[in-house]
Each structure stands twice: as structure tokens, then as C-alpha cells.
Amino acid sequence: MNAEESYEIRLKVNGRTQHVTAPARRLLSDALRGELGLTGTHVGCEHGVCGCCTVLVDGAPVRSCLTFAVAVQDKDIRTVEGLAAGDGELHPVQEAFKECHGLQCGFCTPGFLMTACALIEQNNDPTEQEITEAIAGNLCRCTGYQNIRAAVRRAAEITRSDKR
């Protein structure tokens, strides 16, 4: 069998374009964690169930374990590392998860933060139902979800007051 072909993959992550050399089967989650060292994106189930690996692709929440890196070249990819400002100031969703105890072990948290971030960018005044539906693709084994929902609500509130 021939050696596996490598691809030069241009990934624009958190505003910075980087080059990764990898085979076509390299998953976005593995490229982020392995090639780019961005281990904030967590990998739980690896088959599209838990939502831990959620990142934003052109603003939409997407499972990076079900996306090939080569297929999202030049798209705008955002990961949890891109949330806080350069000076360390937390993003409203991070601030809110901290305030509302929206995490325990933290394994699921990067996925929830990105999913919540996408929701709030589209709708900064979501109803309870909209919040529940938005986070339905993310599993958490610790919190029981109540504090996560409270955190999303709070993040929307912080975002609205920042805008004023």
C-alpha cells in the first residue's frame, strides 16, 4: 500500500491562520488538540453524542469530532481559548458559568461555553425553552444542568447589560 498522502491544511482558529500538515482523515478535534496544541477543546465520546468537542465554525456550533480538518479550511473557527480577551478578561459566558457554578469537573465545560456563546450571539434574550434546546446536544455528568441553564441565562443578561 502507498504511504498515506499528507495535505497542507490552512486553519483559521481564533483569528489566526495556521498551517497543519496532516492526512485527510485528521479530525478537526485532533488537529486542534494534537497539531495546534489547543487542548481546551475536549474529546469525550468521539462519535457525535456528548458535545464536549463543540467549536464554532462561522459562528455555528459544530462537533469537531465529526468534522474533517481539511473540510473546514479558511472557515472561521473559534475554540474556548478564543473566548477570554487578550488581557485575561473573561467572556460573558465564562463569567456567568463561574458566577452560577455551571461546572463541577469541567470536562463538558468547553463544549457548553461554545454552544452558549453561539446562542447568545444569535439571541441575547433567549427563553427558558430556547436555552434548553440550545444546549440539548451537550451532555454533563456532574451538574444536573440546572446551574448550566442559570449560567446561560446570566450570560445573556451580562451581554445585554454590556450592550447598553
Binding site: R25, G48, G51, L66, F68, A71, E133, G137
Partner: protein, 275 residues
């Protein structure tokens, strides 16, 4: 879980995609949202040696008013179907069913074309297009043909698509109003249907289809015949499992699925205005 290796080619048009799959034969597969194909590749149930990425093909994610029907590009994502104002007004059942597929992350990647081409009897959108009496436009090296949804699903994960054909468009009749319903029964929120029932009134007749009640998405012909001869919702729903061969899995036995089909059909018919 890492798929077997493959060569990757990006197609920028339907013509290019079709010539690439014709060239590579059954070694090649089209990649749309990847949300059915990548899980199968991870389990090595699919081992294509070439993937032709069609996600970037422009002009195939439209949702357009074409007089008596709506035309939807094969690459339209579940999310854009769910939120299309045109579909919400003119074919609300399809928009609603799209909103019931998986979770937000799935709906932001998965496409209607991928969902139909995959022909999974447990999928939601094939049943919706079947109940609506829609049709599919497919393109091959020798041009286009139109296939009625009722002729498209030929077997377990098998469709009428030839190896060198690509699904380009889905057509559904306009069916505004409230005479429709979709019942999706599952135990966990956002999960696949254990059984589902879609009902829609199109041109005065009630059309009903079943999810996960056989090796393909199915029209509930026994229910439709009963309704046409004046049966009530409850009487017609009693026929829902007739002629079906429901699968058995960890979630349900065939008997339980037959029971669900009858109960859900009654609910769907009543919610669609059948007395």
C-alpha cells in the same frame, strides 16, 4: 476512533462532483455534512478510498418558491430548513420535522440531501418528504431525472440513486395550514425516533408515513386506504402496522413498535384535523 485513510477532493460544482465519482467508481463517496458518513467511517462500516466533498458546492443550498411547490437544494442544512420563512409559511411540516432532527450541532452540519441519500429508515426527513408526496431531482453523467419519493427508498440504507448520480434538489408541494402533524417517539430528548409518524393533507387527501417500521421509510398505505373510504382517525390508526415488518433492537420489539405505530398514528391524525 479514526476512519481508514482516503484521498480528499473538493468539488465546486455538481458537474465536477459527478465526474469525480464516475471516475473513481464505487471507491468514491460524496461527503455532504458528514454526520451519517463520518460515524460509519469511524466504525469502518464505510471505507471509501476517495471522498468528494460537495459541502462547498454553491447554488445547491437554496429554498425557493416555484409556484405550486418549494424546491430545496440538496445541500440545504437542517437548520436552514427549520428556520426558512418560506417553508414555515408554505410547508410548515417540513420545517417542523427538520427542527426535530438530532440537536443543534447536528442540524448545523447535516443536509437534507445527505439525509435522503443515506436512506436510513430511522431518519426524520425522509418520512416527511414521503408523507408530503415530494420528489427528488438527481443528476448523473447523462443528465437529470426526477424520482418520486415513493420510488426512491428501495432497501435498508439503499436508494434509487445510481453510483454515479448525485441528488441535487428536493421538491415538496405547497401545503400550508395546520392539517399536518409529526409524532416522534423517543426516550431521550434529541434522540432518533424509536417510531415516528408523519401525516399531511395534500390536495385534500391525508398522506401518512412511518419512521423505523421497516427496512425503508414507508407510506402507511393501509391507513390511507381506510381514511379514503371514510374511516375515523381511530379506525384508520388501527391499520398502521399492517403490512409492516418492524425491526427489533435494544429499544423496542416489533410488537411494541406496532403498538407505537397505532398510537402515534391516531395522535397524528387527530392533530391533523381528522376526526
Amino acid at each position: 476512533m479514526i476512519p481508514a485513510s482516503f484521498d480528499y477532493v473538493k468539488a465546486s460544482s455538481a458537474d465536477e462532483a459527478i465526474s469525480l465519482i464516475s471516475e473513481h467508481g464505487d471507491e468514491a463517496k460524496l461527503l455532504a455534512g458528514g454526520h451519517s458518513l463520518i460515524p460509519m467511517m469511524k466504525l469502518r462500516l464505510a471505507v471509501p478510498s476517495v471522498l468528494v466533498d460537495i459541502a462547498g458546492v454553491r447554488d445547491l443550498s437554496h429554498v425557493e418558491d416555484r409556484g405550486d411547490h418549494i424546491a430545496i437544494g440538496a445541500l440545504a442544512k437542517h437548520r436552514s430548513i427549520e428556520t426558512s420563512d418560506l417553508l414555515i409559511a408554505q410547508c410548515p411540516m417540513l420545517a417542523h420535522v427538520a427542527s426535530k432532527v438530532g440537536d443543534p450541532q447536528v442540524r448545523h452540519r447535516g443536509t437534507i440531501g445527505g439525509s435522503l441519500a443515506h436512506s436510513d429508515p430511522a431518519s426524520d426527513l425522509p418520512a416527511a418528504v414521503l408523507a408530503l408526496g415530494g420528489s427528488l431531482i438527481v443528476q448523473g453523467p447523462n443528465g437529470q431525472r426526477e424520482i418520486a419519493a415513493t420510488d426512491f427508498f428501495t432497501g435498508y440504507f439503499e436508494s434509487a440513486l445510481a453510483e454515479d448520480e448525485m441528488l441535487t434538489e428536493v421538491k415538496v408541494p405547497k401545503s400550508p395550514g395546520t392539517n399536518w402533524n409529526y409524532q416522534k417517539f423517543n426516550r431521550r430528548a434529541q434522540d432518533w425516533a424509536i417510531v415516528g409518524v408523519a401525516a399531511a393533507q395534500v390536495d385534500g387527501a391525508m398522506q401518512v408515513s412511518l419512521v423505523n417500521m421497516g427496512s425503508t421509510p414507508l407510506r402507511a398505505t393501509a391507513v390511507e386506504t381506510a381514511l379514503a373510504s371514510g374511516a375515523s382517525a381511530a379506525e384508520a390508526a388501527d391499520e398502521a402496522a399492517n403490512g409492516t415488518e418492524a425491526p427489533t433492537d435494544l429499544n423496542a420489539s416489533p410488537e411494541y413498535r406496532a403498538h407505537l405505530a397505532r398510537v402515534l398514528t391516531k395522535r397524528a391524525l387527530e392533530a391533523s384535523g381528522v376526526e
